[in-house]
Symmetry: C3
Subunit: 344 residues, 3 copies
Amino acid sequence: MAKTNPGRFFEDYAVGQVIPHAVPRTLSGGERALYHALYPARHALYSSDAFAAACGLGAAPLDDLIAFHTVFGKTVPDISLNAVANLGYAEGRWHRPVRPGDTLRSASEVIGLKQNSNGKSGVVWVRTRGLDQRGELVLDYVRWVMVRKRDLEAPAPETVVPRLAGVVAAGDLVLPEGLDFTGYDFTLAGEPHRMADYEIGEVIDHVDGVTVEEAEHMQATRLWQNTAKVHFDATFREDGRRLIYGGHVISLARALSFNGLANAQMIVGLNGGAHANPCFAGDTVRAWSEVLDKAETSAPGVGAIRLRLVAVKAGGVPGELRGEDGKYRPEVLLDLDYWALMPV
Amino acid sequence: MAKTNPGRFFEDYAVGQVIPHAVPRTLSGGERALYHALYPARHALYSSDAFAAACGLGAAPLDDLIAFHTVFGKTVPDISLNAVANLGYAEGRWHRPVRPGDTLRSASEVIGLKQNSNGKSGVVWVRTRGLDQRGELVLDYVRWVMVRKRDLEAPAPETVVPRLAGVVAAGDLVLPEGLDFTGYDFTLAGEPHRMADYEIGEVIDHVDGVTVEEAEHMQATRLWQNTAKVHFDATFREDGRRLIYGGHVISLARALSFNGLANAQMIVGLNGGAHANPCFAGDTVRAWSEVLDKAETSAPGVGAIRLRLVAVKAGGVPGELRGEDGKYRPEVLLDLDYWALMPV
Amino acid sequence: MAKTNPGRFFEDYAVGQVIPHAVPRTLSGGERALYHALYPARHALYSSDAFAAACGLGAAPLDDLIAFHTVFGKTVPDISLNAVANLGYAEGRWHRPVRPGDTLRSASEVIGLKQNSNGKSGVVWVRTRGLDQRGELVLDYVRWVMVRKRDLEAPAPETVVPRLAGVVAAGDLVLPEGLDFTGYDFTLAGEPHRMADYEIGEVIDHVDGVTVEEAEHMQATRLWQNTAKVHFDATFREDGRRLIYGGHVISLARALSFNGLANAQMIVGLNGGAHANPCFAGDTVRAWSEVLDKAETSAPGVGAIRLRLVAVKAGGVPGELRGEDGKYRPEVLLDLDYWALMPV
């Protein structure tokens, strides 16, 4: 049994440590097809080589969340196998589109540590970088998780809480090389709304719902080689329920957001995110978005729109995020803050 | 909420209107693999590059129903989002095989309108054309659906009922370029029966059954980017059941028909079809076929066989389609009339 | 009904008979993606083109079990459609890696027959060979199954029980051309353990569990074009349960064995195997391995490790295979004996 991976515990992390994650992964059209089977994904830039080429990108990239999940999945055995909770994301940026044939690997640097006052666990901040087969940066983001201690007697490390940007500045977003929306085909994309049509503060109800099945969230989570037991083993939790990978809810909500945000094509920044409540098979997931900001970019015809994407289960109401106590309402599953590129 | 697609209502259609559908889709080996995972598909021409090449086609095309579902899926947001019922198909022809790498898009022309006497809904006839990235026609067919009115006061349009062929004439079928069955390998194909072995009127029980799961029909339907809520949202119907996309039943039945019709390789014509009763998860689907007609073609060694393909659930009996009242028996799910190409 | 395949019965086999199996299959990145979605597969050599290239193999092959399932699936209509039980495997060898684009077909030679004393069934031994599009041998193995007689009056054939090796000799294993583990990257592979770190007799608990869903095992089994009714039709067995294809359990267990045997990269020999007890949806599958032997090979840095891979359901205990009566314990699903290649 000594040969299996017990995962790291809180006392195993040190600030400055760089952890290379195992099992690089070559992606293909197979992952794209599965993504379309598992999520109601319809953004045209990721669906059609011809559409992507007309936007200056050549063949269609794989969905930005395929890159995210692949990079994230590799971190699980090293970062979150003994995690109690996935607390947040910040400073995420996509640096280049991923295409079929690319091989992704990832590494995480420990950038913060804070033991909890109960002495049983602590918070670990890591900056994860995803690289392709050429060693070029594809994606990076900060994530923090609460991790159990193995040895409650282990001394608390010096507390280091990293200073994180609340929002990725629009000027820091990386624009895919060649991207050009000046000849954007709104008809083929599915909706007529350009960035100018959205107002800051506007709330969009994405209307459609998807009832989640065990086989679907497990297939998705496996596809990203995420190994956390809690997603796959019905005997692991005391209540006999499999917890759905938070990223599955992100992809569901993002795909649902096509209906109303079909032209928010490319995800380029992840400002923050919280998995507000757990999601289980049988839940019917809906989504709404709020326009948080808009910015110009240097690419022709391309604007950046900052969106809050909220996934809810039964009872969720568009625009209602928190209760009077300031806490997330019990129907809220996800609160994600991201930047997308769309025609100005 | 004004930004989401409410779908068109009966009064939004006019004869002669051409509606280009959104979200073109590039297909790959991923879609083929999923098709084989979702349906018990075994026709050799779509399974093996070597077999297809030996039939003069080069690399194996994607299943003809992948082309159909992809083209059809695009029409849903514009044609059937507010449909009460999918009433029929006619005059369907496949014009060229689709291969991995091809990008499909589609457009529909309104060719008929008839308001129902209750004034609440009406029938819309459309001719849908699927095109590839070169703009070449891949598939076209007529479909008619019953669509709700949004405004019951809207005036009824002039009634136009298109005159549709009951059957695509054998001489109008399009033969894939290069197709040649003179060296057809019956052993590799799986059965020894050539077209001459089938008699008009013959009924074939395809024997095998498949019990359908929610995760499977939802994955299939999503893969074709079909967005109709009723397939995905368990809270949408009053009975809490998700209705299975009729095309899922078509593909299940066609795949099951391999057992007895392994050499009916390519679908080239769709004469008609009715989704006789709804299908739900838990149903065990079986299929039987009836030989309706046979015809020669101009391609070497290639004949055209006209088949009635019937899918049934528990209690269905091969050959029994309608009750004494002339209506479909309650176990019948699908009654499809199509042309396939097979060795003479 | 005469056109459908009734399958062969015991009296239809004769020693020396060679049965070519139908429906060749071209594999792609789609099958790889589905394999990763259906099983928690993480062996780096099959996940990353870059990792495989660094091991001298060029682009990543498809998982060796994809080759096995594809070759096996083709045999079902001819060998095991009327099988009562799949009794065993022997003398299995993988001869060359399979890559996206390869087309597999298979044929089986009857090498043994023995009627059971009850006169109702008998054991059939076949040697199955899988070939690629160039006619080169990809995989061969012996399997024996118990098959029903159609006609109980049919005379018993002469009994021929083939003499089978209990183990494939290490010297007979085929090493993939170019394989070289001298520059093996243990960090990317996921574990530091080389063959020298494993002791014969060592038992490894692979820890993780997977609860199996109907939709998953059916998708997997269909993907290999395995047509046995018992896996798909909930009405086929009297108890209304679908029996899970034994190969699904093999792949689940092998994928789970990554945790502790991440460097046992390539499967090259199948010494034996028994599906000890049936597996059903809802079972949570776990796995453990026992090191049975180790051997040198002629490839640089490459050793061969012989492993017993055991899959269990709830109640299974690592290292406990048989009860005091010498029979498999009721929790044991699979007992597989195979050779893998790993860094020495």
